[in-house]
């Protein structure tokens, strides 16, 4: 597991640095591009966990779709080149404590539920058949709920976009 551990730490440090750059950079588009690095790092971590399908989904959904739409939206409306001064606002004081609380809560949840549990020495790549058996078996209800939420979002978008 040594190679995977080294890989994990390299990617993890890269992700943390990029995540900090997302909030400290003074340009909206730069922030979005740093976020791309964070999301790509997450995909890399999934690959280290032998979760091939999740990693590819991460790239397809977050880098290929969400971030492209994000950049598309900002470029269409307000993205200037160079430093912008009005990116910081007073919510910063509220945001930092909330972020720290989230970090502690998630850290506790992870250590409490997994403890000293270790990954198997030779992790087996999970096949798509197993993933789909899980989604359309025990996790069918959450899957339906998610689909319903997305459908509601689509209907909402259409209602907002319609002129009449």
């Amino acid at each position: 597991m040594i190679a995977q551990n080294i890989g994990f730490w390299i990617i993890a440090v890269l992700m943390v640095v990029s995540a900090l750059r997302v909030v400290t950079t003074n340009n909206v588009v730069h922030a979005a591009l740093w976020l791309v690095v964070v999301l790509a790092g997450a995909a890399g971590q999934y690959i280290l966990l032998a979760a091939e399908f999740v990693a590819i989904t991460q790239v397809l959904v977050y880098i290929g779709a969400v971030m492209v739409l994000f950049l598309f939206g900002t470029m269409l409306t307000r993205a200037r080149i160079g430093a912008e001064s009005d990116l910081n606002n007073s919510y910063k004081k509220l945001g930092i404590p909330v972020g720290l609380v989230m970090l502690v809560a998630m850290g506790l949840a992870l250590t409490r539920s997994f403890g000293d549990e270790k990954l198997p020495e030779s992790a087996k790549v999970v096949s798509i058949q197993e993933v789909s058996d899980q989604i359309f078996g025990p996790y069918l209800l959450p899957f339906w709920a998610l689909s319903f939420v997305l459908l509601a979002a689509v209907v909402g978008a259409i209602v907002l976009a319609r002129k009449d």
């Binding site: 588009v29 591009l33 790239v59 397809l60 880098i63 492209v68 080149i81």
Partner: protein
């Protein structure tokens, strides 16, 4: 490649894979540019095309590359220099990532991904990112408009492309490109197994949708709104010169080649010939010479598909933005969804 390279150490394998990837990207790109862009377009327009450099102008490409390499690398004064320089590399990176899953023979592959086609669709969408930031960082209104048009178009046409692939995945029962090739060449149609079962026949609607979608993904006319030269100078590429323009140029035609390879794997049986011709029963019983002949078969099929793409490119005028979006959302996507429904019903019934 697993069997061929069993004795080579891991670093040697990696080096050979990188070299193979470079060949698999650049060789088709060069051939496509010379045969189709230089010669076929010229003949369609009743002229000879380049004739001076080398016999029949065949060395023209090297002359062009040499010309681009010695041009000055200009970055506009108000541009975002770092991102401006990064953008073409991201576009070319997506092409190199894409070629990694294409199988060229029974043992001649770079990686044997279980989720091959899904991976290909995912990494092909990375190029949109490069195009968007190229348009934005140029500090040029034409470039920005070109980048935004490109993003809108590429998102719209990625959907029918994904949906068209699902039909093939349902029929082959796998996302592994190698297994899709085997499924087509060892299958049979109506009990006759002389021709295998290329999905271009049973998935003809999917094939047509996929080809239209890759035409749009490659921003080839009639879908060349993002680089419309009469409206936007050259779209997101306007400010690029020399080496960086060359990277965009290689990226465009290399991606055309790789997409055509993926289309030939999905619909035309890829590197294979029907297994019944030589009495092969599974992928392990295929003779070793297929590792040499396979890439050639693949190359032929790729050239055939690129010929169709270029033929359409040189024949049709540009679509308008609203026509382009309506065609994707109201035309291709409903048909592709219907195709999936019909395919899955037939798959369950038979």
């Amino acid at each position: 490649m697993s069997a061929l390279l069993a004795e080579v150490p891991y670093w040697g394998q990696s080096l050979l894979r990188v070299l193979g990837g470079i060949v698999a990207v650049l060789l088709p790109a060069g051939t496509i540019v010379y045969i189709f862009l230089f010669k076929m377009m010229s003949f369609m327009q009743s002229r000879l095309g380049p004739m001076e450099a080398g016999p029949y102008g065949s060395m023209q490409l090297f002359a062009e590359v040499g010309k681009w390499l010695q041009k000055e690398d200009i970055v506009p004064e108000r541009a975002d220099a770092r991102i401006f320089k990064m953008a073409p590399v991201i576009v070319l990176l997506s092409t190199f990532l894409l070629v990694a899953v294409v199988p060229f023979g029974p043992d001649a592959w770079f990686t044997d991904f279980e989720t091959g086609i899904f991976y290909a669709l995912a990494v092909s969408s990375i190029s949109v990112l490069g195009i968007l930031i190229a348009g934005w960082s140029s500090a040029n209104k034409y470039s920005l408009l070109g980048g935004l048009r490109a993003a809108g178009q590429l998102i719209a046409y990625e959907l029918p492309m994904v949906l068209a692939v699902i039909g093939v995945v349902i029929q082959a029962e796998t996302m592994n490109l190698q297994k899709i090739v085997v499924a087509q060449n060892s299958g049979s149609m109506f009990g006759i197994d002389t021709f295998g079962h290329p999905y271009v026949i049973s998935q003809f609607i999917g094939f047509v949708i996929f080809m239209i979608a890759i035409q749009a993904e490659l921003t080839q006319a009639p879908f060349d709104m993002p680089i419309a030269e009469s409206e936007l100078v050259s779209g997101y590429m306007t400010e690029y010169s020399g080496f960086r323009f060359l990277i965009f140029f290689i990226g465009e035609f290399a991606t055309a080649g790789v997409f055509a390879m993926i289309a030939s794997v999905l619909f035309l049986g890829g590197w294979g010939v029907p297994f019944s011709w030589f009495g092969w029963t599974s992928i392990d019983s295929i003779d070793n010479w297929m590792n040499v002949v396979g890439p050639l078969i693949m190359f032929t099929k790729m050239m055939l598909l690129v010929f169709i793409i270029m033929w359409i490119r040189f024949s049709y005028p540009r679509l308008r933005e609203d026509q382009l979006q309506r065609f994707a959302w109201k035309g291709l996507i409903p048909v592709a969804l219907l195709n999936i429904a019909v395919t899955s019903i037939l798959k369950v019934v038979f």
